[in-house]
């Protein structure tokens, strides 16, 4: 065996984080495209959902803003679905793939790897939303005049990041609980409702509101709607207030997620594995 090319290590913490995130996103995307199953939940299902919704409502409304509302709603719903799915599948994937030990053995925090996974899977949701928007524009000729395009794109990107942070938090909860699959499946619908992806939050029963306000994307979605829909009436807040609350809550998610990841790793070391639960 000849000597290997001598190695230098990537220097600096930021460089390392970027390297690991890139590797994790890259691998997750490869794994995703290697399995043709991804077409069903990610392209076909939202497509059918949107089609049905369009056919149901397109005849009844005159203003195009309702259709834009629908496009936003189904797009955001797709993003939520993938976020929840993403968190269940981020490190959960390694559990059933038998790569948990190799992952835990790496000289970096588990949360960095998980964040890469969640980012890619949430990005899938974004593409999904874009896809639905394209169907609406091209096929159903939804008038797409945004009230404030830069504010709309900024709010969209921030909502994407807050969804990822929420996904990361969910990952830790799933890792620390036994019935991971059950939790994610039973979360999906209440979360759709609570964040107002289906209806404006203002229409929710009052008991839902505290829960909805704790979810950062609730504020993101409000901000997106304010920036997109002409004459939108939602919560009595402004775009700036919505965005500020969302960013604050996102940071809280991240802090809690990183803290819980430490717990996950400590638990794994104590038990010698994360695979048997």
């Amino acid at each position: 065996m000849h000597e290997l090319t001598p190695g230098k290590q990537t220097q600096g913490r930021v460089g390392r984080v970027i390297q690991v995130l890139r590797a994790s996103v890259f691998l997750t995307s490869k794994l995703f495209f290697a399995d043709p199953q991804w077409l069903i939940p990610n392209i076909i299902a939202p497509f059918i959902f949107t089609l049905v919704a369009f056919f149901l409502f397109s005849g009844q409304t005159s203003g195009s803003s309702f259709l834009l509302y629908l496009v936003l709603g189904s797009g955001l719903m797709g993003m939520w679905g993938t976020t929840i799915y993403a968190s269940a599948n981020s490190i959960g994937f390694d559990r059933w793939n038998g790569t948990m030990e190799s992952t835990l053995a790496a000289p970096i925090p588990l949360s960095w790897i998980a964040l890469g996974r969640v980012l890619f899977n949430t990005l899938q949701g974004v593409l999904n939303a874009v896809f639905i928007l394209v169907i609406g524009l091209v096929w159903f000729r939804v008038g797409f005049t945004l009230v404030n395009p830069p504010a709309f794109f900024f709010a969209s990107i921030m909502t994407f990041l807050s969804l990822s942070a929420f996904g990361l938090l969910m990952t830790t909860i799933l890792l620390l609980s036994r019935k991971g699959g059950f939790i994610t499946n039973s979360m999906e619908i209440p979360v759709y409702i609570a964040t107002g992806t289906m209806f404006p939050v203002i229409l929710l029963p009052v008991v839902y509101l505290p829960f909805a306000f704790m979810l950062a994307p609730t504020w993101g979605i409000e901000a997106i709607r304010l920036a997109a829909l002409p004459g939108y009436v939602g919560l009595p807040t402004t775009y700036t207030v919505d965005m500020t609350i969302m960013v604050a809550e996102t940071f809280a998610y991240l802090a809690l997620a990183f803290f819980l990841f430490k717990r996950v790793e400590a638990y794994a070391k104590k038990m010698g594995t994360l695979e048997e639960y």
Partner: protein, 326 residues
């Protein structure tokens, strides 16, 4: 890289208990997997850990690779503490677990190696050169772009070795690296282990194959029920059974009854039999050597035949069996 002055591995009074919890979270059972083991592995040494199922080999490796916290005692890797210096240790060691697990099967060998070299912080410019070199070393260059799920067991195991080497570790742990491989595949792995040793790497390996341990290792620790029952060079371990010799029989149509009859003969220390194949192999340990042969032949039931018999020097396996059965 600068070599540490002390031993590569140093273990003192290491213990580990597993607590199994019941459905309600109460303690159902406490298993003592390691009950105080001590050993040292020198820099550049190839050290073997052998012992029956459940002896504590994997537990030891998990503790030394920082995947599992010890319950008590101390373990130092390259002078670093396994409890505190996790990432520093992980950067400098490579781990090969036996078996199918541990790879991303839906992507290629190159994708796997690139991913792990990134996790280990290997600079991209270095990884680009090193990954093809590693694939060459493990003989997977021409299948490098293929999905791992199409690989044979042996190829996967060679990829496991490449994966453990992406960050050029000083110290390598191999837990049953040849398990489930055909003889050719197992030989390939052993040759790689020897090459690594020749490069000056420190290696700790576990195996259930005694000839493998004897062939590869400079020193061997025999572990049984969480304790080290012997630690020496293969030849010294064999010396422990100097007092006996082994009659090896190849038989046709021999049954368990014959084995039992042999066990009842006076001066027979132990009988180990493999009755599963067409021709059976029976090894009789005895201090009498050839003098026992007449009795061995006389005990043969009607219909069975001895095809071949040889008097042999005891092997590591004979020593091992005595050690773990005591």
């Amino acid at each position: 890289m600068q070599k540490p002055l002390g031993p590569a591995i140093s273990v003192k009074g290491l213990t580990r208990e597993y607590v199994t919890r019941n459905f309600f979270g109460g303690v159902a059972r406490t298993t003592s997997a390691l009950s105080g083991i001590d050993f040292e592995v020198a820099n550049g040494e190839l050290f073997g850990l052998i012992g029956p199922n459940g002896a504590g080999k994997t537990t030891t490796i998990k503790i030394l690779t920082t995947l599992l916290t010890p319950t008590g005692g101390d373990a130092r890797i390259l002078g670093l503490d396994v409890r505190k210096d996790l990432y520093e240790i992980r950067r400098r060691i490579g781990i090969v677990f036996g078996g199918e697990r541990g790879l991303y099967n839906r992507v290629s060998a190159v994708d796997n190696l690139r991913y792990f070299s990134d996790l280990y912080g290997v600079d991209s410019s270095v990884a680009r050169k090193r990954i093809p070199e590693l694939l060459e070393v493990v003989g997977l260059s021409d299948r490098a772009q293929e999905k791992v799920e199409k690989y044979s067991r042996g190829m996967k195991q060679r990829l496991h070795i490449a994966k453990a080497l992406v960050h050029d570790p000083e110290l390598i742990f191999l837990d049953e690296p040849t398990i489930g491989l055909d003889p050719g595949g197992a030989r390939d792995i052993r040759n790689m282990v020897r090459d690594l040793k020749a490069q000056g790497k420190t290696i700790l390996l576990t195996t259930h194959y005694m000839f493998e341990a004897e062939e590869l290792c400079q020193r061997i620790a025999v572990i049984s029920k969480g304790k080290i029952v012997a630690l020496d060079t293969p030849s010294e371990l064999k010396n422990m059974v100097r007092d006996i010799s082994v009659i090896e029989l190849r038989t046709f149509e021999a049954t368990m009854d014959y084995v039992e009859a042999l066990r009842k003969l006076p001066n027979v220390v132990r009988v180990v039999a493999d009755l599963d194949s067409e021709q059976q192999t029976i090894r009789v340990q005895t201090p009498l050597g050839a003098d026992l042969l007449p009795k061995v032949t006389a005990a043969l039931p009607a219909g069975a035949r001895i095809i071949d018999r040889t008097i042999k020097e005891p092997t590591l396996e004979d020593a091992y069996l005595r050690l773990v059965e005591e």
